[in-house]
Amino acid sequence: MSAPSLSRQLILDRIRAATHKLPSEASVAAEQLRSYIRRGKLSVQDRLKLMIERLREYDAEVVDCMPEEVPAAIGKQLALSGRRVFVAPEGLPAQWLAAGFDWKIDRGLENAEIEQAEGVVTAAFCGVADSGTIVLHHSNSEGRRVLTLLPDWHLCILYANQVVETLPEYFDRCPSPSPLHPSYKNLSLGTPPLHPSDKDLSLGTPPLHPSDKDLSLGTPPLATYISGPSATADIEMTRIKGVHGPRFLNVILVRDEN
């Protein structure tokens, strides 16, 4: 193997030689750059309706309930699944661990143990209605990545105030802690991520898992965006549900009091 640092220098020199002599292509005005839709326009009810519709379109099962009904709703979904052994992330609220089922709490479970479980129950970080996407940042209540991967059945609890309409609205909830790259700033590509006047953007009170330190704002070190269950269309473009990830995605949408 040739000296690695030499290749690094060689590549960077080539790049610098190439970019140095060419004029900048940046001619698009900043406002034009960000003229795509960043904020949704739907009412709360319509936003939730869209979220449910899009989730169902990708074969996910969705039910809704009020906050006080969550434990009962979880129990009902677990019973309906006909499964008995479930894994749960360590930070999952204790009242969500419905009675009558075999729970394996993840305090460093082996992959083989997770693989043997029939399902998993987790919280979520965010839901994006436009694409029917569930966002996991793998906090204590959302679980390590492997937890939502090996079991065949995933039940996710999503709160209404976690549901945004557009993908950019989700990214607004993860403002960057690092300063902008100087040339990026010159291009004005970045709008300030948080508009203080925008009430929609505030997460409000953390939804039910106060033990979650990871829920603090910022870019996530780990994230998984799930849009419907695992699928393939590799054979004659026929969409088949469930290749390697969970074959069944279930969502309980918890509506607000009002």
Partner: protein
């Protein structure tokens, strides 16, 4: 199909025949053309529906093109920023100036891991550097885990598309491959059963093989994170279960900020598979204690990219996010499929990317494998003006030919030289018209069309008809008309 060390053939532009010759067997294979047409039509229909749903599609394209151009202008800084952040998060960043180096780095890491098996996510850069044969030669067996890649690996076939690599293979062919290679005699040919067979076949591999190789859809400079977009969950398996993960990514894959994903992710799945989002997008940053691989290597691959960066017209090629929308819409690709391009990057983007990655020393026929209709430009989510780059590359190829001493023996070259002289003078041109009318008359049918010509002319008439020369030129008609009026 040419076998290699693994038995998994490789599309190598250095050895591939020119496009028009490579396309012939495909054009004579109705099953293959039917499979390709079915798949591309299907994706196109789904894409069109979801793009129409996005009222800000053009604005998203504009933003995506601007972000990608901006990255390329300051690529050095963004790569360094990525390296710093990724390293700080526990990752190890390697730099590979070419394919040989990239293969050596990866094999060295695998040797340190004492790996004799590795699981793989579909990775175009790994196909580009022909990694699998090199691994096999080093005594390491690679298991492709994407369903399409698995079909091709077990069936010893070649990918013909970089989003749905096995689109040219139909269900009964998949059944035959799986039945033979997995020892499942009674496997039915419905896609559901075939998919289930793949799930079972790979499950143990995921759980037991401790080393994985994957690519990257995006590298995020500000956080040092890597993003992989996929459908099946095989990616998540490879990114989560092994002890060690190696990511091989082209140097152009960087995005400045995490937030830039809000543009890219809205465009990518819609363009690639006609979905709002792909089922799974995974993002990770270096190493996370207790979650996923505890050893993480990123190999940043140049392999010809920096030389593309230096050229003003061609630079936009590097904006590509590999959605393959240009393949599905291309009237040439839709007839030939991918193999005729002799490269792991087929279609319009392959026609500009492949010869450039080869430093214009191979694959020179590819820039001509296009009707310049512009459909590729229209669907490109990062607004790469592919026809413009095609024309630029064509002129480079012609300039190369001009410098070849053999040109004086080439009828085409002499013909063009003669045409040049004829077009330079009105009298010569008129004389040539007169001569041409006489010479072409025997070949012109009653319907006014020429269906077949001898010699050089056959290059035109073997694929299309030629309108016969009219009995009167425009100038003659004009002069005659003037006389009548007077």
């Amino acid at each position: 199909m040419s076998g290699t060390l693994t038995g998994h053939p490789v599309l190598d532009p250095r050895h591939a025949p020119p496009f028009p010759i490579a396309a012939l067997p495909v054009l004579r294979n109705p099953q293959l053309r039917k499979n390709v047409a079915h798949a591309t039509n299907m994706i196109q229909t789904k894409r069109a529906r979801l793009v129409a749903e996005k009222t800000d599609w053009q604005e998203l394209r504009t933003a995506a093109a601007a972000i990608r151009s901006h990255v390329l202008e300051d690529l050095g800084s963004y790569l360094e920023e990525f390296e710093v952040r990724c390293t700080a998060a526990g990752g190890k960043v390697h730099w590979a100036s070419d394919a040989v180096e990239a293969r050596a780095i990866i094999i060295e890491v695998l040797r340190q891991e004492q790996a004799n098996e590795v699981i793989k996510i579909k990775t175009m850069t790994s196909a580009e550097i022909q990694l699998n044969p090199a691994l096999e030669a080093a005594g390491i067996h690679a298991y492709e885990t994407d369903l399409a890649e698995l079909i091709l690996q077990l069936g010893e076939g070649e990918p013909s598309h970089f989003v749905v690599p096995a689109l040219h293979v139909n269900r009964s062919q998949v059944r035959e491959i799986f039945a033979r290679r997995m020892g499942l005699k009674d496997l039915p040919d419905d896609p559901k059963a075939l998919t289930a067979a793949a799930r079972t076949y790979l499950r143990q591999k995921f759980l037991t093989i401790p080393t994985a190789i994957g690519g990257a859809n995006f590298l995020i400079a500000e956080t040092g994170s890597v993003a992989v977009v996929e459908s099946e969950g095989n990616g998540r398996m490879c990114l989560t279960l092994p002890r060690t993960l190696i990511t091989l990514a082209g140097i152009e894959k960087v995005l400045p900020r995490f937030q830039d994903l809000e543009v890219m992710l809205q465009l990518l799945a819609r363009s690639a598979t006609g979905e709002r989002m792909s089922p799974y997008t995974s993002l990770w940053t270096g190493v996370t204690p207790g979650d996923g691989p505890q050893r993480f290597h990123v190999v940043l691959l140049d392999n010809g990219r920096s030389s593309i960066l230096a050229r003003p017209v061609e630079r936009q090629t590097l904006r590509c996010i590999r959605c393959a929308a240009c393949l599905n819409t291309c009237p040439v690709y839709r007839q030939t499929g991918g193999h005729a391009y002799g490269s792991v990057y087929p279609g319009p983007i392959g026609a500009i990317l492949t010869p450039q990655l080869m430093h214009m020393e191979f694959a020179q026929s590819l820039p001509f494998a296009s009707s310049l209709c512009g459909a590729c430009y229209e669907v490109c989510p990062v607004k790469i003006n592919i026809p413009q780059v095609l024309l630029e590359l064509r002129s480079q190829v012609v300039n190369q030919e001009r410098r070849q001493p053999a040109r004086f023996g080439d009828l085409m070259f002499l013909g063009m030289k003669t045409a040049n002289a004829i077009f330079a003078g009105a009298r010569r041109f008129r004389a040539a018209q007169w001569l041409g009318r006489i010479a072409l008359r025997p070949f012109t049918r009653k319907d006014g069309w020429i269906h077949s010509l001898p010699s050089l002319g056959a290059k035109w008439t073997q694929t299309r008809d030629l309108r016969g020369l009219p009995s009167q030129s425009f100038r003659q008609w004009w002069v005659a008309r003037g006389k009548e009026e007077r």
